[in-house]
Symmetry: C2
Subunit: 188 residues, 2 copies
DNA sequence: TAATTTATGTATCGACTCGATACTATATTT
DNA sequence: AAATATAGTATCGAGTCGATACATAAATTA
Protein backbone atom coordinates (compact mmCIF):
# COMPACT_ATOMS: atom_id res chain seq x y z
CA UNK A 1 0.00 0.00 0.00
CA UNK A 2 1.45 3.32 -1.10
CA UNK A 3 -1.52 5.35 0.09
CA UNK A 4 0.60 7.81 2.05
CA UNK A 5 3.06 8.47 -0.74
CA UNK A 6 0.36 9.00 -3.34
CA UNK A 7 -1.59 11.25 -1.03
CA UNK A 8 1.44 13.39 -0.29
CA UNK A 9 2.21 13.86 -3.96
CA UNK A 10 -1.36 14.78 -4.87
CA UNK A 11 -1.63 17.17 -1.96
CA UNK A 12 1.69 18.78 -2.85
CA UNK A 13 0.84 19.12 -6.53
CA UNK A 14 -2.56 20.55 -5.70
CA UNK A 15 -0.98 23.08 -3.37
CA UNK A 16 1.59 24.19 -5.90
CA UNK A 17 -1.05 24.64 -8.59
CA UNK A 18 -3.32 26.54 -6.25
CA UNK A 19 -0.57 28.83 -4.99
CA UNK A 20 0.52 29.51 -8.53
CA UNK A 21 -3.04 30.17 -9.61
CA UNK A 22 -3.45 32.65 -6.75
CA UNK A 23 -0.40 34.59 -7.87
CA UNK A 24 -1.47 34.37 -11.49
CA UNK A 25 -5.00 35.76 -11.19
CA UNK A 26 -4.23 38.30 -8.46
CA UNK A 27 -3.54 40.96 -11.09
CA UNK A 28 -7.12 40.66 -12.29
CA UNK A 29 -8.42 40.96 -8.74
CA UNK A 30 -9.53 37.33 -8.75
CA UNK A 31 -9.14 34.32 -6.49
CA UNK A 32 -8.27 30.72 -7.44
CA UNK A 33 -11.88 29.67 -7.02
CA UNK A 34 -13.00 32.14 -9.69
CA UNK A 35 -10.76 30.58 -12.28
CA UNK A 36 -11.96 27.12 -11.31
CA UNK A 37 -15.57 28.12 -11.80
CA UNK A 38 -14.82 29.57 -15.23
CA UNK A 39 -12.86 26.46 -16.10
CA UNK A 40 -15.74 24.20 -15.15
CA UNK A 41 -18.25 26.29 -17.07
CA UNK A 42 -16.06 26.16 -20.17
CA UNK A 43 -16.09 22.35 -20.06
CA UNK A 44 -19.65 21.45 -19.06
CA UNK A 45 -22.80 20.90 -21.09
CA UNK A 46 -26.15 22.69 -21.09
CA UNK A 47 -27.55 20.49 -18.30
CA UNK A 48 -24.69 21.44 -15.99
CA UNK A 49 -23.98 25.14 -16.53
CA UNK A 50 -26.15 26.34 -13.65
CA UNK A 51 -25.31 27.54 -10.13
CA UNK A 52 -26.34 24.12 -8.80
CA UNK A 53 -24.01 22.43 -11.29
CA UNK A 54 -21.12 24.53 -10.03
CA UNK A 55 -22.21 23.83 -6.46
CA UNK A 56 -22.09 20.07 -6.97
CA UNK A 57 -18.82 20.18 -8.85
CA UNK A 58 -16.94 22.33 -6.36
CA UNK A 59 -18.55 20.87 -3.25
CA UNK A 60 -19.45 24.22 -1.73
CA UNK A 61 -22.79 25.48 -0.52
CA UNK A 62 -25.09 27.16 -2.99
CA UNK A 63 -24.91 30.41 -1.07
CA UNK A 64 -21.14 30.53 -1.44
CA UNK A 65 -21.38 29.74 -5.13
CA UNK A 66 -23.99 32.45 -5.62
CA UNK A 67 -21.55 35.05 -4.31
CA UNK A 68 -18.69 33.77 -6.42
CA UNK A 69 -20.86 33.97 -9.52
CA UNK A 70 -21.82 37.55 -8.73
CA UNK A 71 -18.17 38.53 -8.62
CA UNK A 72 -17.55 36.88 -11.99
CA UNK A 73 -20.57 38.56 -13.49
CA UNK A 74 -19.55 42.00 -12.20
CA UNK A 75 -16.11 41.49 -13.71
CA UNK A 76 -17.73 40.71 -17.06
CA UNK A 77 -16.28 37.21 -17.23
CA UNK A 78 -19.66 35.53 -17.13
CA UNK A 79 -23.21 36.06 -18.43
CA UNK A 80 -26.41 34.75 -16.89
CA UNK A 81 -29.21 33.46 -19.13
CA UNK A 82 -32.56 32.47 -17.59
CA UNK A 83 -33.81 29.06 -18.68
CA UNK A 84 -36.72 29.31 -21.09
CA UNK A 85 -38.67 26.38 -19.63
CA UNK A 86 -37.83 26.30 -15.95
CA UNK A 87 -37.91 29.80 -14.57
CA UNK A 88 -35.99 28.79 -11.46
CA UNK A 89 -32.86 28.03 -13.42
CA UNK A 90 -30.10 30.22 -14.78
CA UNK A 91 -27.54 29.16 -17.38
CA UNK A 92 -24.05 30.54 -17.04
CA UNK A 93 -21.98 31.29 -20.12
CA UNK A 94 -18.33 32.27 -20.05
CA UNK A 95 -17.96 35.61 -21.86
CA UNK A 96 -15.29 36.24 -24.48
CA UNK A 97 -13.25 38.06 -21.84
CA UNK A 98 -13.58 35.00 -19.64
CA UNK A 99 -12.46 32.71 -22.44
CA UNK A 100 -9.47 34.93 -23.04
CA UNK A 101 -8.53 34.72 -19.37
CA UNK A 102 -8.85 30.94 -19.41
CA UNK A 103 -6.66 30.68 -22.48
CA UNK A 104 -3.74 32.37 -20.74
CA UNK A 105 -4.20 30.89 -17.28
CA UNK A 106 -5.25 27.26 -17.81
CA UNK A 107 -3.21 25.15 -17.78
CA UNK A 108 -0.94 27.39 -15.75
CA UNK A 109 2.38 28.34 -17.36
CA UNK A 110 4.07 26.63 -14.42
CA UNK A 111 2.42 23.39 -15.39
CA UNK A 112 2.96 23.71 -19.13
CA UNK A 113 6.69 24.18 -18.60
CA UNK A 114 6.81 21.00 -16.58
CA UNK A 115 4.72 18.80 -18.86
CA UNK A 116 6.91 19.61 -21.82
CA UNK A 117 9.80 17.99 -19.98
CA UNK A 118 7.98 14.66 -19.71
CA UNK A 119 8.23 11.99 -22.38
CA UNK A 120 5.13 11.11 -24.37
CA UNK A 121 5.11 7.75 -22.62
CA UNK A 122 5.19 9.33 -19.17
CA UNK A 123 2.32 11.59 -20.09
CA UNK A 124 0.21 8.70 -21.32
CA UNK A 125 0.92 6.82 -18.12
CA UNK A 126 0.07 9.89 -16.05
CA UNK A 127 -3.31 10.24 -17.73
CA UNK A 128 -4.08 6.57 -17.18
CA UNK A 129 -3.04 6.52 -13.54
CA UNK A 130 -4.74 9.78 -12.62
CA UNK A 131 -7.96 8.73 -14.30
CA UNK A 132 -7.91 5.46 -12.42
CA UNK A 133 -7.31 7.27 -9.14
CA UNK A 134 -10.06 9.81 -9.71
CA UNK A 135 -12.55 7.11 -10.65
CA UNK A 136 -11.61 5.10 -7.57
CA UNK A 137 -12.23 8.12 -5.35
CA UNK A 138 -15.56 8.88 -6.96
CA UNK A 139 -16.72 5.29 -7.03
CA UNK A 140 -15.68 4.21 -3.55
CA UNK A 141 -17.31 7.29 -2.05
CA UNK A 142 -20.38 7.29 -4.28
CA UNK A 143 -19.70 10.73 -5.62
CA UNK A 144 -20.88 12.24 -8.86
CA UNK A 145 -18.39 11.54 -11.63
CA UNK A 146 -18.84 14.57 -13.91
CA UNK A 147 -17.66 12.62 -16.93
CA UNK A 148 -18.40 13.07 -20.62
CA UNK A 149 -21.20 11.33 -22.55
CA UNK A 150 -18.83 8.88 -24.19
CA UNK A 151 -18.46 7.02 -20.88
CA UNK A 152 -22.06 7.54 -19.69
CA UNK A 153 -24.70 4.90 -19.17
CA UNK A 154 -27.42 7.18 -20.53
CA UNK A 155 -25.69 7.80 -23.86
CA UNK A 156 -26.74 5.91 -26.98
CA UNK A 157 -25.23 6.12 -30.43
CA UNK A 158 -27.94 6.21 -33.09
CA UNK A 159 -27.82 4.76 -36.59
CA UNK A 160 -27.19 8.11 -38.22
CA UNK A 161 -24.04 8.59 -36.09
CA UNK A 162 -25.62 11.17 -33.81
CA UNK A 163 -26.17 10.57 -30.12
CA UNK A 164 -29.12 10.39 -27.78
CA UNK A 165 -29.38 10.84 -24.01
CA UNK A 166 -31.79 8.40 -22.36
CA UNK A 167 -32.09 10.62 -19.31
CA UNK A 168 -33.00 13.92 -20.93
CA UNK A 169 -34.50 12.27 -24.02
CA UNK A 170 -32.65 14.71 -26.24
CA UNK A 171 -30.37 14.37 -29.23
CA UNK A 172 -26.74 15.28 -28.68
CA UNK A 173 -24.24 16.59 -31.22
CA UNK A 174 -20.62 15.60 -31.61
CA UNK A 175 -19.67 18.71 -29.66
CA UNK A 176 -22.20 17.97 -26.92
CA UNK A 177 -20.81 14.57 -26.07
CA UNK A 178 -17.35 15.96 -25.36
CA UNK A 179 -18.62 18.11 -22.50
CA UNK A 180 -18.88 17.04 -18.88
CA UNK A 181 -22.29 16.46 -17.34
CA UNK A 182 -23.49 16.59 -13.75
CA UNK A 183 -25.86 13.68 -14.46
CA UNK A 184 -23.06 11.45 -15.75
CA UNK A 185 -23.00 7.86 -14.53
CA UNK A 186 -20.19 5.52 -15.56
CA UNK A 187 -21.09 2.62 -17.84
CA UNK A 188 -19.41 -0.05 -15.73
CA UNK B 1 1.02 16.46 -25.49
CA UNK B 2 -1.54 15.59 -22.82
CA UNK B 3 -0.89 18.71 -20.79
CA UNK B 4 -4.55 19.68 -20.59
CA UNK B 5 -5.78 16.27 -19.54
CA UNK B 6 -3.14 15.88 -16.85
CA UNK B 7 -3.77 19.38 -15.55
CA UNK B 8 -7.51 18.77 -15.33
CA UNK B 9 -7.05 15.57 -13.37
CA UNK B 10 -4.59 17.11 -10.92
CA UNK B 11 -6.78 20.15 -10.42
CA UNK B 12 -9.84 17.98 -9.89
CA UNK B 13 -8.10 15.65 -7.46
CA UNK B 14 -6.67 18.60 -5.56
CA UNK B 15 -10.12 20.16 -5.30
CA UNK B 16 -11.76 16.99 -4.06
CA UNK B 17 -9.08 16.49 -1.42
CA UNK B 18 -9.31 20.09 -0.30
CA UNK B 19 -13.10 20.08 -0.12
CA UNK B 20 -13.04 16.85 1.82
CA UNK B 21 -10.39 18.20 4.16
CA UNK B 22 -12.52 21.30 4.79
CA UNK B 23 -15.48 19.17 5.80
CA UNK B 24 -13.28 16.88 7.85
CA UNK B 25 -11.55 19.47 10.03
CA UNK B 26 -14.51 21.82 10.38
CA UNK B 27 -15.63 20.05 13.55
CA UNK B 28 -12.35 21.08 15.20
CA UNK B 29 -12.81 24.66 14.08
CA UNK B 30 -9.94 24.36 11.65
CA UNK B 31 -9.32 25.15 7.98
CA UNK B 32 -7.59 23.00 5.35
CA UNK B 33 -4.46 25.12 5.59
CA UNK B 34 -4.07 24.28 9.29
CA UNK B 35 -3.94 20.59 8.57
CA UNK B 36 -1.44 21.16 5.81
CA UNK B 37 0.85 23.10 8.11
CA UNK B 38 0.70 20.34 10.72
CA UNK B 39 1.32 17.75 8.03
CA UNK B 40 4.40 19.58 6.79
CA UNK B 41 5.76 20.02 10.30
CA UNK B 42 5.31 16.32 11.00
CA UNK B 43 7.45 15.47 7.96
CA UNK B 44 10.24 18.05 8.01
CA UNK B 45 13.63 18.10 9.74
CA UNK B 46 15.08 20.47 12.31
CA UNK B 47 16.38 22.89 9.69
CA UNK B 48 12.91 23.32 8.23
CA UNK B 49 10.48 23.42 11.15
CA UNK B 50 10.38 27.22 11.38
CA UNK B 51 7.82 29.80 10.24
CA UNK B 52 10.06 30.56 7.26
CA UNK B 53 10.17 26.88 6.36
CA UNK B 54 6.39 26.73 6.35
CA UNK B 55 6.31 29.96 4.36
CA UNK B 56 8.55 28.56 1.64
CA UNK B 57 6.72 25.26 1.52
CA UNK B 58 3.22 26.68 1.29
CA UNK B 59 4.14 29.67 -0.86
CA UNK B 60 2.37 32.20 1.31
CA UNK B 61 3.68 35.37 2.87
CA UNK B 62 5.33 35.16 6.26
CA UNK B 63 2.65 37.39 7.75
CA UNK B 64 -0.06 34.98 6.70
CA UNK B 65 1.88 32.03 8.06
CA UNK B 66 2.43 33.81 11.34
CA UNK B 67 -1.32 34.10 11.84
CA UNK B 68 -1.95 30.50 10.90
CA UNK B 69 0.66 29.35 13.41
CA UNK B 70 -0.93 31.42 16.17
CA UNK B 71 -4.24 29.68 15.57
CA UNK B 72 -2.57 26.26 15.78
CA UNK B 73 -0.74 27.24 18.95
CA UNK B 74 -3.90 28.52 20.62
CA UNK B 75 -5.64 25.25 19.77
CA UNK B 76 -2.79 23.37 21.43
CA UNK B 77 -1.81 21.53 18.27
CA UNK B 78 1.61 23.11 18.08
CA UNK B 79 4.40 24.24 20.40
CA UNK B 80 6.98 26.95 19.75
CA UNK B 81 10.59 26.49 20.83
CA UNK B 82 13.08 29.36 20.44
CA UNK B 83 16.33 28.35 18.74
CA UNK B 84 19.22 28.21 21.18
CA UNK B 85 21.81 29.68 18.81
CA UNK B 86 19.90 32.04 16.52
CA UNK B 87 17.52 34.08 18.63
CA UNK B 88 15.53 35.16 15.58
CA UNK B 89 14.31 31.65 14.90
CA UNK B 90 11.53 29.55 16.39
CA UNK B 91 11.17 25.81 16.00
CA UNK B 92 7.67 24.42 15.67
CA UNK B 93 6.80 21.03 17.08
CA UNK B 94 3.51 19.24 16.54
CA UNK B 95 1.99 18.45 19.94
CA UNK B 96 0.59 15.03 20.84
CA UNK B 97 -2.90 16.39 20.20
CA UNK B 98 -1.71 17.55 16.79
CA UNK B 99 -0.24 14.13 16.02
CA UNK B 100 -3.49 12.52 17.02
CA UNK B 101 -5.39 14.80 14.65
CA UNK B 102 -3.01 14.02 11.80
CA UNK B 103 -3.39 10.31 12.38
CA UNK B 104 -7.14 10.43 11.80
CA UNK B 105 -7.18 13.04 9.05
CA UNK B 106 -4.18 12.29 6.83
CA UNK B 107 -4.49 10.65 4.44
CA UNK B 108 -8.17 11.51 4.35
CA UNK B 109 -10.62 8.60 4.75
CA UNK B 110 -11.95 9.52 1.30
CA UNK B 111 -8.53 8.87 -0.17
CA UNK B 112 -7.78 5.71 1.80
CA UNK B 113 -11.02 4.15 0.57
CA UNK B 114 -10.03 4.84 -2.99
CA UNK B 115 -6.42 3.70 -2.83
CA UNK B 116 -7.44 0.34 -1.46
CA UNK B 117 -9.33 -0.27 -4.70
CA UNK B 118 -6.19 0.15 -6.81
CA UNK B 119 -3.91 -2.76 -7.63
CA UNK B 120 -0.40 -2.80 -6.22
CA UNK B 121 0.89 -2.24 -9.75
CA UNK B 122 -1.29 0.82 -10.28
CA UNK B 123 -0.11 2.29 -7.01
CA UNK B 124 3.53 1.79 -7.92
CA UNK B 125 2.94 3.44 -11.26
CA UNK B 126 1.10 6.30 -9.60
CA UNK B 127 4.01 6.99 -7.27
CA UNK B 128 6.46 6.94 -10.15
CA UNK B 129 4.41 9.20 -12.40
CA UNK B 130 3.51 11.70 -9.70
CA UNK B 131 7.10 11.94 -8.53
CA UNK B 132 8.23 12.57 -12.08
CA UNK B 133 5.60 15.25 -12.53
CA UNK B 134 6.41 17.00 -9.26
CA UNK B 135 10.12 17.00 -10.02
CA UNK B 136 9.46 18.37 -13.49
CA UNK B 137 7.44 21.23 -12.03
CA UNK B 138 10.04 22.03 -9.42
CA UNK B 139 12.96 21.73 -11.80
CA UNK B 140 11.56 23.60 -14.79
CA UNK B 141 10.51 26.48 -12.56
CA UNK B 142 13.60 26.49 -10.34
CA UNK B 143 11.61 25.90 -7.19
CA UNK B 144 12.79 24.41 -3.95
CA UNK B 145 12.33 20.65 -3.97
CA UNK B 146 11.76 19.90 -0.27
CA UNK B 147 13.04 16.37 -0.68
CA UNK B 148 14.64 14.00 1.81
CA UNK B 149 18.39 13.63 2.42
CA UNK B 150 18.59 10.38 0.49
CA UNK B 151 18.20 12.31 -2.77
CA UNK B 152 20.15 15.41 -1.69
CA UNK B 153 23.42 16.64 -3.08
CA UNK B 154 24.65 17.67 0.38
CA UNK B 155 24.18 14.25 1.94
CA UNK B 156 27.14 11.89 2.41
CA UNK B 157 27.14 8.39 3.82
CA UNK B 158 30.03 7.87 6.20
CA UNK B 159 32.00 4.68 6.80
CA UNK B 160 30.21 3.89 10.05
CA UNK B 161 26.84 3.92 8.19
CA UNK B 162 25.75 7.26 9.63
CA UNK B 163 25.19 10.32 7.45
CA UNK B 164 26.66 13.79 7.17
CA UNK B 165 25.25 17.00 5.70
CA UNK B 166 27.84 19.03 3.80
CA UNK B 167 25.71 22.16 4.10
CA UNK B 168 25.12 22.24 7.83
CA UNK B 169 28.25 20.23 8.64
CA UNK B 170 26.30 18.07 11.04
CA UNK B 171 25.84 14.34 11.48
CA UNK B 172 22.43 12.94 10.62
CA UNK B 173 20.74 9.87 12.04
CA UNK B 174 18.73 7.26 10.19
CA UNK B 175 15.57 9.04 11.28
CA UNK B 176 16.91 12.45 10.21
CA UNK B 177 17.49 11.44 6.62
CA UNK B 178 13.88 10.41 6.12
CA UNK B 179 12.60 13.93 6.79
CA UNK B 180 12.11 16.63 4.19
CA UNK B 181 14.43 19.63 4.17
CA UNK B 182 13.99 23.15 2.87
CA UNK B 183 17.66 23.21 1.80
CA UNK B 184 17.30 20.05 -0.27
CA UNK B 185 18.86 20.06 -3.73
CA UNK B 186 18.45 17.06 -6.03
CA UNK B 187 21.56 15.05 -6.85
CA UNK B 188 21.02 15.02 -10.58
C1' DT C 1 34.24 48.51 16.22
C1' DA C 2 30.36 50.89 14.32
C1' DA C 3 27.14 51.33 10.69
C1' DT C 4 24.54 49.10 7.26
C1' DT C 5 22.13 45.49 5.38
C1' DT C 6 19.77 41.20 5.61
C1' DA C 7 16.82 37.69 7.81
C1' DT C 8 13.21 36.04 11.06
C1' DG C 9 9.12 36.93 12.88
C1' DT C 10 4.85 39.75 14.61
C1' DA C 11 0.85 43.13 14.36
C1' DT C 12 -2.73 45.25 11.96
C1' DC C 13 -5.76 46.38 8.14
C1' DG C 14 -8.85 45.60 4.21
C1' DA C 15 -10.64 42.52 0.66
C1' DC C 16 -12.37 38.31 0.11
C1' DT C 17 -14.01 33.16 0.92
C1' DC C 18 -16.95 30.19 3.06
C1' DG C 19 -20.80 28.07 5.73
C1' DA C 20 -25.07 28.88 8.10
C1' DT C 21 -29.38 30.73 8.20
C1' DA C 22 -33.25 32.78 6.46
C1' DC C 23 -35.72 34.00 2.55
C1' DT C 24 -38.22 34.24 -2.37
C1' DA C 25 -39.93 32.11 -6.39
C1' DT C 26 -41.00 28.35 -9.33
C1' DA C 27 -41.96 23.18 -10.12
C1' DT C 28 -43.50 18.96 -8.72
C1' DT C 29 -46.00 15.79 -6.01
C1' DT C 30 -49.77 14.43 -3.28
C1' DA D 1 -55.48 23.01 -4.04
C1' DA D 2 -52.04 22.18 -0.64
C1' DA D 3 -47.72 20.47 0.60
C1' DT D 4 -43.20 19.65 -0.61
C1' DA D 5 -39.01 19.92 -3.29
C1' DT D 6 -35.78 22.56 -6.06
C1' DA D 7 -33.09 26.74 -7.72
C1' DG D 8 -31.36 30.65 -6.38
C1' DT D 9 -30.38 35.09 -3.47
C1' DA D 10 -29.23 38.00 0.74
C1' DT D 11 -26.88 38.66 4.89
C1' DC D 12 -23.89 37.70 8.78
C1' DG D 13 -19.78 36.15 11.31
C1' DA D 14 -15.46 33.63 11.40
C1' DG D 15 -11.49 33.15 9.18
C1' DT D 16 -7.72 33.34 5.13
C1' DC D 17 -4.67 35.99 2.73
C1' DG D 18 -1.55 39.73 1.06
C1' DA D 19 0.31 44.21 1.99
C1' DT D 20 2.40 47.21 4.90
C1' DA D 21 4.74 48.56 8.78
C1' DC D 22 7.40 47.29 12.52
C1' DA D 23 10.82 44.98 16.03
C1' DT D 24 14.71 42.27 16.86
C1' DA D 25 18.79 39.63 15.85
C1' DA D 26 22.47 38.24 12.78
C1' DA D 27 25.66 39.02 9.09
C1' DT D 28 28.21 42.06 6.30
C1' DT D 29 30.88 45.95 5.33
C1' DA D 30 33.28 50.14 6.01
Amino acid sequence: MKTNQIYDYIERLGNLLRTDSRRDVAEYGLQPIHLEVLHYLSLCNRYSDTPMGVTDYLGQTKGTVSQTLNVLEKKGLLNKHPDSRDKRMTHLKVSSAGKELLKTSIPSPLFVNACEQLTEQSQTQAVKVLQELLQAIQHSNSMKSFGICHTCRYNHKKEDNTYFCELTQESLSNEDIQLICREHINIS
